[in-house]
Symmetry: C2
Subunit: 124 residues, 2 copies
DNA sequence: CTAAAACCTCACGTCGACGTGAGGGGCAAG
DNA sequence: CTTGCCCCTCACGTCGACGTGAGGTTTTAG
């Protein structure tokens, strides 16, 4: 399929797909006239890329991990990086959870304040 | 305390503290000569700010929520924004968890491949 | 008193994942 | 043939949270 269709189906912009190619995250075939052509599998692959971006990975990191994540191709070195990223994400989840709980406690305490008219110390 | 000590104790750069003031996240007193002076409570407050930044909130959002989070001062409108951010964070945690699990399954499957010598379909 | 350390205010630089024209080619329908 | 849509390649713009000097003042230690 061509770039416009892939963009629509994967939910990203055409510009983003060209950018991914620039970063060596995708390597579509080219028609004689220079137009990009992608296989079906590209749709899922783009979604994976987006997911990794959303998890805070950089293009450089993703390009290193993609052969492993997409093709299941593994070396001990890649596995180590993969595990490192997993740990980073775990830490990030922990922090986000703490933040979420803090906001929630503020909401709870403040709602209480609104209802009772007197402030209620939050459990920090 | 002065800006250097606050920076050290809160674990941020001096530049960052000046930036926070520019964004109206902190409003230190000034000595006659123009130097900033912060109360003890600023240490914790900076940590909160950092935590909110880390959760993906912008300066604009944080400045809106700070009176609520720090002083417990609440209006229905602020509570709504607070709840909206909490929901955003919940969604983010869910996505990160999915990503984490995907990486973990790749690690598991790949380790298996390394050990057995034959690829093992990951549970996607 | 003096020198180092810490502070001040501009104000431009950075980095990454794209957005946004500018200017031009390719191809199916009427 | 030409209208219109999709595609191409530069290449500069953006945004946010600071980094990094430049050039000058204030505070502190000896």
């Amino acid at each position: 399929m061509r770039i416009g269709e892939l963009a629509a189906r994967a939910g990203v912009s055409v510009r983003a797909l060209r950018y991914y190619e620039e970063q060596h995250l995708l390597t579509p075939d080219r028609s004689p006239s220079g137009q990009r052509h992608y296989p079906e599998a590209a749709v899922e692959q783009v979604r994976v890329i987006q997911q990794l971006y959303a998890a805070g990975l950089s293009s450089r990191t993703i390009v290193a991990l993609l052969p492993c994540v997409v093709d299941g191709l593994a070396t001990p070195e890649l596995l180590a990086r993969l595990a490192a990223e997993r740990d980073r994400i775990d830490a990030q989840i922990a922090e986000l959870t703490a933040t979420r709980d803090r906001l929630q406690s503020v909401i709870g305490g403040a709602t209480d304040t609104l209802l009772t008219g007197r402030p209620c110390r939050t459990a920090n």
